[in-house]
Amino acid sequence: MNPRLTRRRFIKSVIFSGAALSSGAGFYLASAQSRQAGAVERLVSLNINGRTRRVDVMPQETLAHTLRYKLGLTGTKIGCNRGECGSCTVTIDDVTHYSCSTLTHSVKGKEVVTIEGLRSESGALHPVQQAFIDELSPQCGFCTPGQIMSTVALLKTNPRPTREEARQALSGNLCRCGAYDHYLNGVMRASGQLS
């Protein structure tokens, strides 16, 4: 039998149409299944970048997914979705975590900060952001938000790290471009050790 004919038999002429399921965060609600007994409440309040956000979260949903697809915070990047690169690094109560490997439901009641949450109220860049500009730290930029979040967390506990301490602290952030030197220069500048 001609395999192409075999396959064609299965092609549907009518494509499923879902106008109600279309855009924005709405489709998650629309496609949600009813809550199973005993499971977590799906509608939760999250503290993201100092603001309380009400969001519908699937039980198994990762924080990276919530940030990027529910809250529009696309500065947090998904480089591997397996905890192997660090592009999705955010801070949770000032500690760095891979948001691709964090359940959103586990951050209820905690303070999540993403790259979008670093600017001051007036819109000024965070000193780490400015230092990374000054040192031309990013290359392609895809890992940069994660590198910055790790640096911000480091400087909160260790305001004047040595270069060695800095590279240990940032070591969970892979940079495929190999901009490690420039990132470390950025850390040193942000901590006032380069002028």
Binding site: Q60, C100, L103
Partner: protein, 329 residues
């Protein structure tokens, strides 16, 4: 074979009391999956190679966190993060072997989330198994890694039994060396298992690397005072210095009196499915100084009896070399 990347639908339970967690663990049994740091959870589930119906997130149970002194040593809550184990002053002062081991796990972010319990309970890294193949460990009836053509550089050189995967845990060898006690709780009560019996090889159980059974939760790890403040040596040899699992690791505790080793506990990681205690080396160095001559005397002893696969013979000299480094550091 789609490259799945999304967590499929499942329930999530977030108990805040240990009793509730134990009840859930008992009720859900093999349909449930305990989540501590979750760092060896989401990959399995995103790949859809493991598919529990429900996650039981233990992070809300405060009693499972923290490091406290007990009559004989210290007790570390199962959910204590690896970062905390690595930086805790008591652990660093008395059991630097463990803090060192915890400090070289994976990456900073994984240590910030990953727990001590998760590090010892994590599944093996055999890449054939992780790819979802139907090997012995996955319930099938063959091993893809133990063949003449297989890519088995990271696999076992000792005690293979159908499966040739190795223990991936960095803290496991340290805990075995420190003769830690693993506190396992279930609705039926509590049992305390010595670390060296906590880990099990494929000859005992082909599908599980520990004695933990459905309904049980590893709630704490106790480190006895026996080795507190001893001389320690830990080294992990991995390809990269971040993220990678050990090619071989060594964890050793030694008591030295009058210039001689009077007691030692030396364990290798990543050479078999469980941390491997180097008993023959321990016996041979008993009563001898920790020096080059003793190292020379025991050269080759650690790897005796190894049965390498086609690509992992290097683990034999590496084991022996790490014993040398332990004795000459």
């Amino acid at each position: 074979m789609p490259a799945f990347d999304n967590m499929p639908d499942m329930e999530l339970y977030q108990p805040v009391q240990i009793d509730d967690a134990l009840a859930l663990a008992a009720r859900l049994a093999d349909r449930g999956w305990l989540v501590g740091g979750g760092q060896d959870t989401y990959g399995w589930i995103k790949d859809r190679n493991k598919r529990p119906d429900a996650l039981i997130d233990l992070n809300g149970i405060e009693s499972l966190r923290g490091i406290r002194e007990i009559a004989d040593g210290i007790e570390i809550g199962a959910l204590t993060t690896l970062t905390e184990v690595a930086t805790n002053p008591i652990v660093r002062e008395r059991y630097s072997l463990l803090s060192k081991a915890a400090s070289v796990v994976a990456s900073p972010q994984i240590r910030n989330a990953g727990t001590l319990a998760g590090n010892v309970a994590q599944d093996v890294r055999c890449w054939y198994y992780r790819r979802g193949l139907d090997c012995y460990r996955a319930g099938g009836n063959l091993c893809y890694a133990d063949t003449p053509e297989a890519q088995n550089r990271e696999h076992a050189i000792f005690n293979a039994s159908r499966c040739v995967a190795v223990t991936p845990s960095d803290t496991g060898p340290a805990l075995v060396a420190l003769e830690a006690q693993m506190v396992i709780t279930s609705q039926r009560g509590q049992r305390v298992v010595p670390a060296d019996r906590f880990f099990v090889g494929p000859d005992v159980d082909i599908e599980n690397t520990t004695v933990l059974r459905d309904g049980e939760i590893l709630t704490a790890v106790r480190i006895p005072a026996k080795w507190a403040g001893a001389e320690f040596y830990y080294e992990k040899v991995a390809d990269r210095n971040v993220w990678d699992f050990a090619l071989v690791s060594i964890a050793g505790a030694m008591r030295i009196e009058g210039g001689n080793i009077v007691a030692s506990s030396i364990v290798c990681g990543a050479v078999q499915c469980t941390p491997r205690r180097l008993s023959s080396v321990e016996r041979a160095i008993q009563g001898r100084p920790r020096n080059e001559a003793t190292a020379t005397m025991v050269a080759g002893m650690a790897s005796q009896g190894a049965r390498p696969l086609n690509q992992n013979a290097f683990k034999m000299p590496l084991m022996d070399n790490l014993v040398t480094k332990l004795l000459t550091a």
